[in-house]
Amino acid sequence: MPSLHPVVIARVVDGSLMPKVERAALLGEGWNPASDVSRPCAPGVVGAVLRFEGIVRRGERSEAHGGDERELLALDYQTYDPMAECELRALARQIAEEHALSSLTALHSRGRVAVGEVSFVLIVKSPHRAEAIAAMSAFIDRLKQDVPIWKKPVWK
């Protein structure tokens, strides 16, 4: 029995996401759990939980250096506000409904995130595995097309 009104949380958050994901990003900064999680899933409905974390890698191709890999210190994520969060939220709602998810949580960093730190988190819950995987892939593909976030390398 997939939820027709999935729980959706989508936020743009300053800096690295971990360990904020479990605390501040979801619970702090004015986010009201009561409003967003007003329709909790019945126990036993969710059969698959899929969580993706994107982490800043040390090596990034530099166009200014003929495409060679150079060593990074960090990425600076520039967001076009508030459109970035609006598009992130709209995408989250659309994917959650298209794939009949139980819930979708998407968090993306704004500003500087050091190598090895988390800049993107996506958590999808659904009755079955197949929809969770399809939803995750679709979300990330669309994120890279439609959500106005750019990354600028900070070279070592």
């Binding site: 994107g54 994520y77 520039q78 076009y80 508030p82 459109m83 970035a84 609006c86 993306h108 993107f120 990330i140 994120l143 890279k144 097309q145 439609d146 959500v147 106005p148 976030i149 750019w150 990354k151 600028k152």
Partner: protein
């Protein structure tokens, strides 16, 4: 009429600026602004979408084609995003 177009990412880096200005006729549309960007800022072509199907953000929403651009609208070129 003059329209300021906000730039981000690689487009802003190429122009060394966070915006460019284009000159368009009266009552311009998204297509008119895209056509003017192609003609007046050829350096940006690597980042510009096709005039017929391309989109701009106007007042922070994606719009295309014949959508009108009015005095005071916030117009932005949103291409080559790189989140995730």
């Amino acid at each position: 009429m003059e329209v300021d177009v906000l730039l981000f990412g690689a487009a802003a880096t190429r122009e060394k600026s966070d915006r460019v200005t284009v000159v368009v006729g009266a009552e311009p549309t998204v297509q008119d602004v895209l056509r003017a960007l192609h003609a007046q800022h050829p350096d940006l072509r690597f980042a510009l979408p096709p005039v017929e199907t391309g989109r701009l953000a106007v007042n922070q929403s994606f719009v295309r084609g014949g959508h009108p651009i009015r005095e005071g609208d916030e117009v932005a070129l949103i291409t080559l995003v790189g989140g995730g």
